[in-house]
Amino acid sequence: MIINHPLLGPRDANEFIHLGDASLINRPDGMADDAAEKFHDYLYLRDNPAGEYRELWYHDAGDRSWLVVTRNTLTHEISSVEMARDVARKQGRSK
């Protein structure tokens, strides 16, 4: 499988480590009143879609960046690759 890195171009998937659902970048507030429940959902509840799926990949053997990859779980076709940093910033997070 080839992942088309937004900065570095097409790279073999063996340069990357797969983490899981892209929602993992939305870490709940640990100080909130309902933190226990929020963290339970954050850690354990996953959708398992047959089709388009957004997931986190880490370019371990490359530039060490985190990516949000949109992949079709039925065909493995990758329709979009974004820097996780940009995705978080678009949501108003980070600096």
Partner: protein, 184 residues
């Protein structure tokens, strides 16, 4: 007091193999420059003034006859400059406090592979497309070779610099050497 002699990771390995030459490069200071938050413009000016080089971009290194700069990851530059007594203070003298500097000289082993068959030898261990139309002069990449994290830079049409962790320098040399031997 004990009298210690400094040695490099591969004792200055240098061998002609077929039409190629594989050698260890030992006369470089290696430093990592982390760019402070919103400090890219300042560092760019400091690099221009202190090292007479322009800022590298992803995959594209900048170089003159003595020094080379790589962009190793977002907000991080890797500097290869002539060997001095103390890498960190030498680079700090050149760019001041415009980056967080870490001496990496002992952390990497640097090999240079040159000669007409270099690309043929490298295609056995490097999964990237190294055709000169795609991977041009001064282009660089971080990747893996034989499962070892490495960097590759094309410094000329048939010349490549290969870098990997000095802790596995012998294994890295072995991998490259075998590939070179198999095509010569």
């Amino acid at each position: 007091m004990a009298n210690l002699t400094q040695t490099s990771s591969l004792n200055g390995y240098d061998q002609p193999i077929g039409d190629m030459r594989l050698r260890e490069i030992t006369d470089l200071d290696l430093t990592s420059l982390a760019i402070p938050h919103k400090g890219a413009t300042k560092l760019k000016t400091a690099i221009k003034n202190g090292l007479s080089l322009s800022m590298p971009t992803p995959m594209k290194s900048t170089a003159d006859a003595k020094s080379r700069l790589l962009m190793t990851q977002p907000d991080q530059i890797f500097a290869m400059t002539p060997r001095s007594k103390h890498a960190e203070s030498t680079i700090r003298k050149a760019i001041g406090d415009t980056a967080y500097i870490t001496d990496q000289t002992d952390a990497w082993v640097v090999l240079e592979l040159s000669g007409p068959s270099s690309r043929t030898a490298l295609e056995r261990i490097c999964q990237l497309d190294l055709h000169p139309d795609v991977f041009k002069k001064n282009q660089m990449a971080r990747t893996t070779m034989e499962h070892m994290g490495s960097m590759i830079i094309r410094t000329d049409n048939d010349t490549f610099i290969l870098m990997s962790a000095s802790s596995s320098a012998a294994s890295f040399l072995h991998a490259v050497e075998i590939s070179v031997q198999h095509v010569s």
